[in-house]
């Protein structure tokens, strides 16, 4: 049994310590907002926060999570998260939407450390998140919009 705190709730999970956090979230805890896209940290669809830091859950073994607090799209909250989600909705960023949980988690991570990101900052933080529908222009605009609303 491994202990895992997800969105503020403690869970006990029966899974091999090598199991990626992604599959524990999706298959053991039914937190399906976190998406599987590639399994090799190339697309960012599985992005969650570990103690507030954006990480790829497909490459995070649950045995390595330890005491760290896991936050998923279902549980993310606070001023920055609200600003990001509001901007995403206001600009109708989503198309298929499948990558957007990960995009939003990465964007929240960026704005938490860099309140006024430049375009280069956005490229740096978001280049690991693939959107096959190509919504990048609106993602960029939404991040700037969220930054403005937080200023």
């Amino acid at each position: 049994m491994l202990k895992l705190t997800v969105n503020g709730v403690a869970h006990e999970v029966e899974a091999d310590p090598d199991t990626p956090l992604l599959w524990v979230l999706r298959d053991h805890l039914d937190k399906t907002g976190t998406k599987y896209g590639c399994g090799i940290a190339q697309c960012g669809a599985c992005t969650v926060h570990l103690d507030g830091q954006a990480v790829r859950s497909c490459q995070t073994r649950i045995g390595d999570v330890g005491e760290a607090k896991v936050t998923t799209i279902e549980g993310v909250s606070g001023r920055v998260a609200e600003a990001v989600q509001t901007a995403w909705r206001g600009l109708d960023v989503v198309q298929c939407g499948y990558c957007q949980s990960g995009q939003i988690m990465s964007a929240i991570g960026l704005l938490s450390t860099t309140p006024k990101p430049t375009d280069a900052d956005i490229n740096g933080a978001m280049d690991g998140n693939v959107c096959r529908c190509g919504t990048y222009q609106r993602i960029r605009a939404a991040i700037h919009e969220a930054a403005r609303s937080l200023a």
Binding site: K35, G39, A45, C96, G97, M126, V130, C131, R132, I139
Partner: protein, 734 residues
């Protein structure tokens, strides 16, 4: 819930005669253009379709209006657009409008542009629904008005409707939709309800917010991969590494020993490992030992297939269209240009890999949860694989995490596989089949690899004298259930669309096609044949313009006298991009390129601003102009064109699926890398005002990107990069 009418509990058993277990279960006909592509013929007049309030709208006592969506929404935003059309004619309160995906029922939900088939594709969702949903909304509105008139004993003509409220001003009475729905449902459906004058539209043409934005930004939107049925098990399948390979010997001892693995079964497409959870199933598959039988497999490399195409192109092919003596006209020309283009296989690489869940009900019927795109075909194929009649198969269409055509296989490949596993496991537990990214990318059904060879002549004044054009590519439709209606004289309209029906006024032309015969499964990929024909046509016409010493925009316009809508977007894009003025201000290594193309009845032109240096290209900005008829939701239209640029750019710059010895080499995003944030150009979209019935925009933004970029690279460097993906290694600095 009070409803205008209930949806039918189960789809009517309309088609039973299937060939058990085979893909070709059903014969399908697109109703358009007798064997020609959608763009070859004007869209048919669909204004005669009947109103169907029973099928498309439910009004509850709490005043919510639920619009039933018969199409798959794979991100293109049709759910919002379809609901908008109906709600506007109904005069519903938009804040109370909800949507729900329709069950499979071709009688109620056929795509009017696909004959008897319920399905989504060819950018037809809005186009085929326009009159149907307007009339349905208007009919439901008339029924609510009649119900109020009866209740209040006043003439219906004195009643007005606004934002979900029915009012009789003279007697100062009003009622909400929910209060009238039950009485309205009992009334006859008016055959020819009066449609609004466009001046009365309140939602159509405005920025109605997407209905799916909230759920897709807080993790609550449910995709097929998120389906969790009680007691469900997860399955992954080991497929042959070569197309056409079959299962030989299986040693599943180690796989069965993996914790969490429940069963291993051999099915027609491979060996399925069934486990309690996805990770265990994947680990189990890793431990599986399978010897594959390659007797019937495709073992060639993609290079060898393309080399064979080049040879094939030297022989006479099937004549797709011809006019005058093109070869003779070229022979006598003052200047002759030749070009060849090759295009690789492309994977759709939707963000959500293919997957589906099938659950057996106590009565022996089945529920299927998936991103269903060709419901009528899928229902039939699943039923055939499960050995039941179609009425025993209920489809539950989910939000799809992309598709770009991949979910619409004529043989419903991955759904058939899920059904095979369900049957092999005896229906004990709901089975969720998951294709990993690697399965999805190596699983075939690619945009065909295609070879184009072109030749044209210019006279002394720079006018085109003749044009010959040979294409070689594997047909998508031959051998599919669509063949009978969409392949004529061996010519697949989806191979030649956008070329053999060119809108350019060529004095003489000759288009030929050869059908490739390799064993690699091919499929429509966002804009289908236009993905390659538009590139070959629009790059070659640009070459001719330069050879003629003409401005590329003016040269095109001179040939587009018979295509006013295409000319219109071309002029608009050029004007908005500052064509002429802007490029004069560029230094070396930066250029503007233009392209214009019609697909699926929609017209798009793009001007690309590109910087090019040694072995490197950066697309700075794209200015697009589109004519899609009436713009139902201008913001969604803009989003589709922005997205088309982001989607297509990686296929311009780098994406290709290659086979070595028949084995697909690219298996994940590391070797088949989609466009990333830092590469995304600024995209500006201009929409042509129109009063024509709307067409689609899911696909038409894609074909014009590659030629605009290629033409811009020529403007920047003087070097022509023709084949896709662009071979930047040959690009010299300037």
């Amino acid at each position: 819930m009070l409803k205008l009418h209930d949806l039918p509990a189960a789809p009517a058993p309309s088609r039973r005669a299937f060939l058990g277990g085979t893909a070709a279960a059903i014969v399908i006909g697109f109703s358009v253009g007798s064997g020609k592509s959608l763009r070859a013929a004007p869209l048919p007049d669909l204004s005669g379709v009947p109103a169907k309030p029973n099928a498309f709208v439910r009004i509850a006592s709490d005043d919510t209006v639920t619009v039933i969506i018969k199409h798959l929404d794979m991100g293109q935003g049709n759910t919002t657009g379809l609901a908008t059309i109906l709600a506007d004619e109904l005069d519903a309160d938009w804040s109370r409008v909800r949507t729900a995906f329709a069950p499979a029922d071709a009688n109620l939900y056929a795509n009017a542009l696909m004959g008897p088939i319920q399905g989504t594709g060819g950018s037809t969702a809005i186009a085929n629904s326009w009159f149907q949903l307007r009339k349905t909304g208007a009919a439901a509105r008339a029924m609510l008005v009649s119900a109020a008139a009866d209740r209040w004993k006043v003439p219906a003509s004195e009643i007005t409707v606004e934002a979900g409220v029915v009012r009789h001003a003279a007697s100062n009475r009003q009622a909400r939709f929910g209060e009238l729905a039950e009485a309205a449902a009992a009334l006859p459906v008016p055959a020819e309800p009066k449609l609004k004058d466009p001046s009365q539209w309140r939602l159509i043409g405005t920025k109605v917010a997407r209905v799916d934005s909230a759920a897709k930004t807080d993790g609550t939107a449910i995709y097929s991969l998120d389906i969790r049925r009680p007691g469900q098990v997860m399955a992954v399948v080991a497929h042959s590494p070569r197309f056409g390979g079959t299962v030989g010997r299986v040693d599943d001892k180690a796989a069965r020993a993996v914790p969490g693995v429940l069963d291993v079964v051999t099915i027609p497409t491979g060996v399925a490992v069934i486990a309690k959870d996805t990770w265990s199933a994947m680990k189990g598959r890793e431990a599986l030992v399978v010897a594959w039988d390659d007797a019937g497999a495709e073992t060639r490399s993609s290079d060898a297939i393309l080399a064979e195409y080049r040879e094939t192109a030297k022989r006479p092919g099937l004549v797709a269209s011809t006019k005058g003596d093109a070869a003779g006209a070229i022979k006598g020309a003052a200047k002759v240009l030749e070009a060849e283009f090759s295009f690789p296989y492309l994977a759709h690489a939707s963000m959500e890999p293919l997957n589906a869940t099938i659950e057996r009900a106590a009565d022996g019927s089945y529920d299927v949860f998936a991103g269903c795109q060709l419901q009528t075909v899928e229902q039939a194929v699943i039923a055939a694989h499960l050995g039941v009649t179609t009425d025993k198969v209920r489809l539950h269409t989910q939000w799809a995490g992309g598709s770009f055509g991949r979910r619409a296989t004529p043989g419903a490949d991955y759904l058939a596989e899920a059904a095979s596993i369900m049957r092999a496991t005896g229906g004990k537990a709901p089975v969720h089949l998951v294709w990993t990214r690697e399965d999805d990318m190596a699983g075939g059904y690619y945009r065909p690899t295609v070879y184009h060879k072109l030749k044209a002549g210019l006279d002394a004044k720079g006018a085109i004298t003749g044009w010959t054009h040979t294409m070689v590519g594997k047909s998508i439709l031959i051998g599919s259930p669509f063949e009978a209606m969409m392949v004529k004289n061996g010519i697949d309209s989806t191979t030649v669309e956008g070329a053999s029906d060119t809108p350019y006024a060529l004095p003489a032309y000759h288009f030929e096609v050869h059908n490739g015969r390799e064993g690699v499964p091919v499929l429509w990929w966002r804009s289908v044949g236009h993905t390659h024909t538009a590139h070959a046509m629009e790059v070659f016409i640009d070459e001719l313009a330069h050879a003629a010493g003409a401005d590329p925009v003016a040269f095109r316009l001179g040939l587009l006298g018979g295509a006013p809508r295409l000319s219109g977007v071309l002029k608009l894009a050029a004007e908005k991009a500052g064509w002429g003025a802007a490029k004069d201000g560029f230094g070396k290594g930066r250029g503007l390129g233009v392209s214009a193309h019609e697909s699926f009845g929609s017209y798009v032109a793009m001007v690309a601003d590109v910087s090019a240096e040694e072995a490197k290209v950066k697309v700075n900005r794209i200015v697009a102009a589109v004519d899609v008829g009436i713009a139902v939701n201008p913001d969604v239209i803009r989003a589709q064109v922005e997205g088309a640029v982001g989607f297509a750019l990686s296929s311009v710059l780098r994406n290709r699926i290659t086979l070595k010895g028949g084995v697909v080499q690219e298996r994940n995003f590391d070797t088949y890398e989609p466009t990333r944030m830092s590469e995304m150009p600024v995209v500006e979209v201009h929409i042509m005002p129109s009063t024509t019935a709307p067409t689609g925009i899911g696909e038409p933004g894609v074909p014009v990107l590659a030629p605009a970029v290629s033409n811009a690279i020529f403007a920047a460097t003087g070097q022509r990069l023709r084949s896709l993906p662009l071979d930047l290694s040959g690009l010299r600095g300037v």
